[in-house]
């Protein structure tokens, strides 16, 4: 038991170091901006975990981060680096908005909700599968192709919305049918009133548990991990490497697509152009901080959601852009420190 504990501690060193360094840099930046660090951190906490609304907003913002975290983590376990979640989010949300607004108004809630969720997942999965396939089939690096596909997705979504789907004078689609909408938690819990946190939150543990099971307990997961840790060994033992890579990217893309569930079905009620606001990129930091372990994505997403929501609370004191800096610092340091601890394991 003790070596297991030691290896667990070893694995936590990198994230802890990342967080400590991010805190230190945050301190410096706050001072540069001419504010007082205790005051800023105090405001950040008060504005998030200090009241019901703040907590609800953190949960609301953590939900998509778990999805985009999974979008990065699943391909990462297959040895691929998906930085195309941003585009996959757009694809999923557009599909949810399109399908949701074209359902018959009388559609029962269960059917309508499920249809939209599936549409969001499938659209994201298709957009994600493309760079996976290009990698498996042609060897084109997914970092470049998926970032190109981000630009293409945004341009395409803009075109579809502006030229075909937009309501007059707006850049959003028609409202989805009532049956497809998710309930806001504020309607049950008075403390959460005013926040957009909704039942999409309940999807989080389900999807995370499913992913953890898939990775660790299924044949598909074993193949996926073997491709990630030793693609040439996997190939020699009969694993269809290209197909597994495409599948991993498709699953990741599908997870990113599910962001649309939270946004379209749970919040706005329609697809709006340019809504994603960097959740795809923040998912990279979430996944790296969690070292691509499904269950660790939840605390990582809560942390970044706290920063994200807290940014609004501290904007009067320091520019809220400080939050983006901290997120990126965590990502870089987690990657650098992760390599160090991995090497230590190798050396022993």
């Amino acid at each position: 038991m003790s070596p297991k504990l030691a290896s667990l501690l070893d694995r936590l060193i990198a994230p802890a170091l990342a967080l400590a360094l991010a805190m230190a840099i945050g301190h410096v930046l706050i001072l540069v901006a001419g504010a007082s660090p205790p005051e800023v951190f105090g405001a950040l906490l008060a504005g998030t975990w200090g009241n019901g609304y703040g907590i609800a907003q953190v949960l609301f913002k953590a939900t998509p981060l778990v999805f985009t975290g999974l979008a990065v983590a699943i391909p990462y376990r297959a040895g691929l680096f998906n930085i195309g979640a941003e585009g996959q989010v757009v694809a999923g949300a557009l599909a949810a908005g399109f399908v949701g607004s074209h359902l018959p108004t009388a559609a029962p809630a269960l059917v309508a909700v499920t249809t939209c969720v599936i549409a969001a997942f499938m659209a994201g999965a298709l957009w994600g599968a493309l760079p996976g396939w290009l990698r498996g089939r042609f060897g084109a690096h997914e970092v470049i192709t998926s970032i190109m596909l981000n630009f293409i997705a945004m341009a395409l979504a803009n075109w579809v919305v502006a030229d075909f789907l937009a309501q007059p004078q707006t850049l959003h689609t028609a409202a989805i049918v009532d049956g497809a909408r998710l309930t806001r938690l504020g309607s049950w819990l008075p403390a959460f009133r005013g926040s957009a946190v909704n039942t999409a939150l309940f999807l989080v543990p389900v999807v995370v548990a499913g992913t953890a099971w898939l990775l660790n307990r299924t044949a598909t997961g074993h193949q996926l991990r073997s491709v990630g840790l030793g693609a040439r060994v996997a190939e020699a033992s009969g694993v269809p490497v290209a197909r597994v890579q495409t599948l991993a990217m498709a699953l990741g893309g599908g997870m990113a697509g599910m962001v649309g569930v939270n946004f379209v079905q749970g919040y706005k009620g329609y697809f709006e152009d340019g809504f994603s606001g960097g959740v795809g990129f923040m998912g990279i930091a979430v996944a790296m901080l969690a070292r691509a372990e499904p269950w660790l994505l939840i605390p990582a997403a809560l942390l970044f959601a706290t920063l994200s929501q807290g940014g609004l609370a501290i904007n009067a004191l320091v520019p809220k852009e400080i939050v983006d800096v901290l997120v990126a610092v965590v990502l870089v340091v987690a990657a650098a420190a992760g390599a160090r601890s991995a090497r230590r394991e190798e050396g022993s």
Partner: protein, 536 residues
């Protein structure tokens, strides 16, 4: 006599693994000194420390009377020591001339002076009779030529002390003879040679003195004339090694060969291929890789219960042959019929389909193709047989564990821990895991590449025994090995490959080491060899 190399109390550890423990070594100028030991005895580490490529944890190094100011390769070279590494330190896309001057570039007006580099190649190669084309790219050279480039470079750098790490592992017997003769010439010219090897016949043939390492410690320092292969083997392993006939003329005898032939004979299955039904029939197999013909007109049969060995100098198509048969390389022409009544052309099947049809594969390069380093042993043992552990959506943990325990037990893998990380296993145990995984597929055909490369002597015998047992159980085996002695020990038939073609065939017992060596270097097949190797 003055001292060329003096090592005192060299210690080196990698984590928990001690590679060198307080090793002393003294080598006189003008001698050939052999360093012998089993795999993992710390020979290479010691030489890399001497050459400044590795840094010792403790101890002192003196080269030709001087201590290196810093433990760097550059400093060792400055003091007159050059090393020919086991894995060539040549930049493949560079030309011979570029490789020669790398690190000691000749400049003209601030730019590289490649004309001068070419002239340097010509000068050194003329002086030592080591002909290599100066403008050829290293990636286009044969293994023997690459080694000559390495030696050339060391001489060009002005080395007075040459260290060669396992230089004969990649050479054919005739090339080995040539190399050993050259090493004697170096010594005669007042240079000093250190040669690392685990082949005792070479030691007896070339060395003046020999140092034996075992588990990182020096356990012997002997004058070659006053020792015997048996004594050296005893020192290397730490216990007496059975040597058939301790004859007084060791330089000519290869104990391993005698031992192996005896072993093969006792296996009692030296019958000819015709007696068994063929499990595998290659017909006109060809492959073009990188614009060159890697395999051409390869035709042979493997019977059920037969081990067919492929001999050849590394890089003559053996690796490509295994890769094509294993499904790891596309684009081959010809046909490969596999099976009995259910005959299929293997070339039309995916890797997974081949496995299901009954083909198992122990890849040549364990680290590259055999084991996922960051997987546990149990996870590695699941590769390619996931269906055995229950439905795809819920693999049974008990079944996985039971399978791993059974394999570890049967193949005597240490530690007996299915949860151990594969990267922590020794070479021999790692190979047993791969072999165990492949054999427990219950294959009808085993493709086996370099089964004992990087494996300690104790495990070699166990692995050989497993292969013999598999053969006796009726499995056809294609065995590729760089060790001729291993092929002679195991095979019912040996085919020789040269430049992608089968150039000779020998039945067990008829195998003639000299003749095989000639064929490996491209001599044409003698009438004595059976005609199965040729086109039908």
């Amino acid at each position: 006599m003055s001292v060329a190399v003096e090592l005192r109390g060299i210690c080196k550890a990698y984590g928990a693994l001690t590679a060198n423990r307080a090793v002393d070594l003294t080598v006189d100028v003008g001698t050939v000194h052999a360093i012998v030991g089993e795999n993992g005895a710390g020979k290479s580490t010691l030489m890399r420390i001497l050459a400044g490529v590795e840094v010792a944890d403790a101890g002192t190094v003196r080269i030709l009377g001087e201590s290196p100011a810093r433990p760097t390769a550059r400093e060792a070279i400055r003091l007159g020591l050059g090393m020919v590494h086991q894995h060539f330190m040549l930049v493949e896309p560079f030309t011979v001339a570029e490789n020669l001057v790398l690190g000691h570039e000749l400049l003209r007006a601030g730019l590289l002076d490649l004309a001068a580099a070419r002239k340097a190649v010509a000068d050194v190669s003329a002086a030592w009779g080591l002909e290599v084309p100066a403008d050829a790219r290293v990636e286009d050279l044969s293994v023997g030529e690459k080694q000559r480039v390495e030696i050339l470079r060391v001489l060009y750098q002005g080395a007075r002390v040459l260290v060669l790490d396992e230089p004969t592992a990649v050479l054919s017997p005739a090339e080995v003879t040539r190399l050993l003769a050259m090493l004697r010439r170096f010594a005669a010219s007042g240079r000093t040679v250190l040669i690392v090897t685990h082949k005792l016949d070479e030691v007896m043939a070339v060395a003046d003195r020999v140092t034996v390492l075992r588990r990182g410690e020096r356990v012997g320092d002997l004058v070659t004339m006053q020792t015997s292969p048996a004594e050296l083997a005893h020192l290397m392993v730490g216990r007496p090694v059975p040597m058939p006939g301790n004859r007084p003329d060791p330089p000519d005898a290869d104990p391993a060969i005698d031992e192996s032939i005896a072993g093969s004979a006792s296996g009692g299955s030296g019958a000819s291929a015709g007696a068994r039904p063929a499990i595998l029939t290659l017909d006109g197999l060809g492959l073009v890789a990188g614009g060159r013909s890697a395999l051409a007109g390869v035709s042979f049969k493997v019977g059920a219960g037969e081990i067919v060995g492929i001999a050849g100098v590394i890089g003559n198509g053996q690796s490509e042959l295994l890769d094509v048969l294993g499904g790891l390389r596309a684009g081959a022409t010809g046909t490969v019929q596999f099976g009995g009544s259910d005959r299929v052309n293997l070339l039309t099947l995916s890797v997974a389909e081949r496995i299901r049809a009954g083909v198992a594969h122990v890849p040549e390069d364990r680290a590259d193709r055999g084991l996922v380093a960051d997987f546990t042993v149990a996870e590695n043992l699941m590769l390619g047989k996931l269906r055995e552990f229950g439905p795809w959506y819920a693999l049974g943990r008990t079944a996985v564990r039971a399978h791993a325990d059974a394999v570890l037990e049967r193949f005597d893998v240490r530690p007996r821990d299915p949860e151990a990380q594969a990267s922590t296993l020794s070479g021999g145990n790692a190979q047993k895991v791969v072999l165990g995984r492949e054999i427990t597929r219950s294959p009808r055909l085993l493709l086996c590449g370099q089964p004992t490369r990087g494996v300690d002597i104790g495990a070699v015998e166990a692995i050989h025994a497993q292969l013999r047992a598999l053969r006796d159980a009726g499995v056809g085996i294609v065995l590729v090995s760089a060790e001729l002695t291993e092929l002679l020990a195991l095979c019912d038939r040996i085919l020789v490959m040269h430049r992608g073609r089968i150039t000779g065939e020998f039945l067990a017992g008829e195998a003639d080491l000299d003749r095989i060596g000639e064929l490996m270097l491209g001599a044409t097949a003698a009438p004595a060899a059976a005609g199965i190797g040729g086109p039908p």
